[in-house]
């Protein structure tokens, strides 16, 4: 898995340095992924180099973060067994199990 830790903002011209949050572990397809409390699932996955969150039902196309504000539903995954979860709006919790979704999910 390609690690792209530099995607996380470390210094921001207006917001300054973000407060360091508690590190937690989520599981993507059973593999541990580092995450920080208070960030959405999608942020943790992107920082870990994961871009394909689901595949579509008709064309089997990959989808990931598109709008990132909870409108487009492109980033939906199976979270702790629940399909159709918007990962851009759902905050990480320690031990969460995330799986990619195919089509409408089960």
């Amino acid at each position: 898995m390609e690690i792209t830790e530099e995607l996380r903002i470390k210094n921001h011209p207006i917001l300054q340095e973000p407060e360091v949050q508690k590190e937690v572990t989520i599981f993507y397809n059973g593999e541990p992924v580092k995450a920080y409390e208070g960030e959405p699932i999608s942020a943790a996955l992107m920082a870990a180099g994961i871009r394909t969150f689901r595949r579509t039902v008709r064309r089997n196309e990959p989808r990931g973060v598109f709008c990132a504000i909870g409108r487009c539903t492109d980033c939906m995954m199976v979270v702790d067994g629940r399909p159709n979860t918007r990962t851009c709006m759902t905050m990480v919790q320690d031990g969460m199990r995330i799986e990619p979704q195919f089509g409408f999910g089960k």
Partner: protein, 270 residues
């Protein structure tokens, strides 16, 4: 191409000439003065409160453009840091015999250092001349907005409004702009392309609801939040209707997906 902030993001000469916050050149020649290049009537007035000498007036109707009384402006630059739109610069035409000084808000990293030579840019971000950094100020009251002042040759004073980043960042090459074609995805949820929407229109659909019933555009998980405007534009182009007459489509609650359990405790599916 049409000009102005609505079309290019850059205020046009006509818009600036009409803006009541832009002082006349004769006023600029008198000394440092705020140049408020605010040309859109939006509800916003922090500049008015930021001015310690009462030179800026928006008034009780806060969608009005700020009016500058150049006589009262003391050239302190406080309004620069408080304008959320970064629309204000401070211009000192008479900085020296040959140079003018321009101050502007700069919200990027890294910040320049006093004495640096930088590329001074116009409103569109294009480099027009070299500038020398005179000061880099960020007192606490500026709330993280940095005000940079640069000296530039006097003849560019009407053009220069900011500077390039002091270092070149290795930015990825922008992807080639792709025009919308028949295979462009319009409804992401139902995976419908421009061709699919056009087909629905050719087969008789003339409204958003018509296209929806014909093609399923807007019936997917996001319920048309992503495609509604795109579909409306295609219908408008194909049928000669106006986009604003087509919107909105029929909306029914809930506005976002909820679990069935929320409305029925006994629902046996989530």
């Amino acid at each position: 191409m049409e000009k102005g902030v609505c079309f290019t993001g850059i205020p046009s000469a006509e818009e600036l000439a009409k803006a009541p916050g832009v002082p006349a050149r004769s006023e600029m020649n008198k000394g440092p003065v705020a140049v408020i290049e605010c040309v859109q009537e939006i509800p916003c007035n922090p500049c008015e409160a930021a001015c310690p000498s009462g030179a800026i007036t928006v008034g009780s109707d806060i969608t009005k453009l700020p009016v500058l009384d150049a006589e009262k402006c003391i050239g302190c630059g406080n309004c620069l840091a408080h304008c959320p739109g970064l629309a204000i610069t401070l211009v000192n035409v008479n900085y020296s015999e040959t140079e003018a000084a321009v101050s502007f808000p700069f919200e990027y990293l890294p910040l320049p250092k006093v004495g640096d030579e930088v590329n001074a840019v116009n409103r569109g971000g294009e480099a027009v001349c070299k500038g020398n950094v005179l000061s880099v100020r960020m007192p606490q009251s500026y709330k993280q907005t940095c005000i940079v002042t640069i000296a530039i040759p006097k003849k560019y004073v009407e053009d220069v409004r900011s500077m390039e980043l002091p270092i070149k960042r290795a930015l990825p090459e922008p992807a080639a702009k792709k025009e919308i074609d028949k295979s462009s995805l319009i409804c992401r949820c139902e995976e419908l392309t421009q061709a699919d929407i056009e087909k629905a229109i050719e087969e008789g659909a003339t409204t958003l609801d018509g296209v929806k019933k014909h093609s399923r555009a807007g019936m997917g998980l996001c319920q048309g939040k992503s495609c509604e405007r795109l579909v409306a534009r295609i219908i408008a182009e194909k049928t000669g209707q106006k986009v604003e007459n087509l919107l909105p489509a029929t909306h029914r609650p809930p506005v976002r997906p909820i679990r069935l359990k929320v409305v029925d405790d006994d629902a046996d599916i989530e």
